[in-house]
Symmetry: C2
Amino acid sequence: MAYDLNKFFKAISDPNRVKIMELLKDKELNVSEICQHFDMQQPSVSHHLSVLKNADIVAHTKRGKEVYYRLDSICITSCCNGFQEQFVEIEKLGKAGKAQ
Amino acid sequence: MAYDLNKFFKAISDPNRVKIMELLKDKELNVSEICQHFDMQQPSVSHHLSVLKNADIVAHTKRGKEVYYRLDSICITSCCNGFQEQFVEIEKLGKAGKAQ
DNA sequence: TTTATACATAGGAATGTATCTATATATTAA
DNA sequence: TTAATATATAGATACATTCCTATGTATAAA
C-alpha cells in the first residue's frame, strides 16, 4: 500500500480528527457514538471521518443502518516511520522518546 | 522540550516545507541558497522557514549578513514517535516499513 | 408502503494559509 | 556616512479549510 504522506499529515493536523482517532484507539465506533463526544454537528463529524478515510487512517464497515469506523494502525506507523526515514539516519531512529 | 504536535504536523503538511527539510538533511544552508531551489520569491521562503522554526523543526544561526538554517532531527523523531505511541501499542511500533 | 433513523453530500459563511509586491532592518563594503 | 546585500515583516489577494444548515440516500420499523 502506497500511503500519501502529505494527505496523512494534513489529516492529522486537525485536533478534532486526532480526538476521533483517540476515541477509536482500541474499539470500533459508529458515527452517532463518535458524535456524542463532540459539540460539532453530525455532518462535520462525517466530514472529518471522510478526511481520515481518504488518508487511509480509518476503515469502515456498514452494519444495518450504522457505519462503524476503526483505526488502521499500520497506516499510522508506516507514515510516521517513513517520514522519519526521509530525514534521519536509520541508526538514530527510535532513540527519541515521547513528546511530553 | 515539549513539542507542539499539532504545530509540527501542520508545518510538515506543506510540500514546499518538506522540500526545504530535504535540502537541509545533512547540511546547513542560508536563505539565498534555499531560494535557488524554488520558484517562489524570497519572502515566501522566509515565511516557510519561520513556520518550520516555530515548530522547532529547524534552528538558525546568523553569520554576518547570512542566516543559516539546519534541521533538528530530535524534533522530527520525537514528534513522529510520540504521535505513534498515542495510538499504537508499543510492541507493535517499528514493525511497519517505509511508505513505498 | 409509509415513516423514522443513520449517515453522507451540497452549498455557503467565516476563517486560515500561501503567495505576491513593497518596504523595513541589519550587516558589510566603499 | 552612504550604498549594497541578505533577510524579515507588512499588507493584499487568491485559495483552502472548517463549520453550519438543508437535503439526499439507504436501511429498518410500523
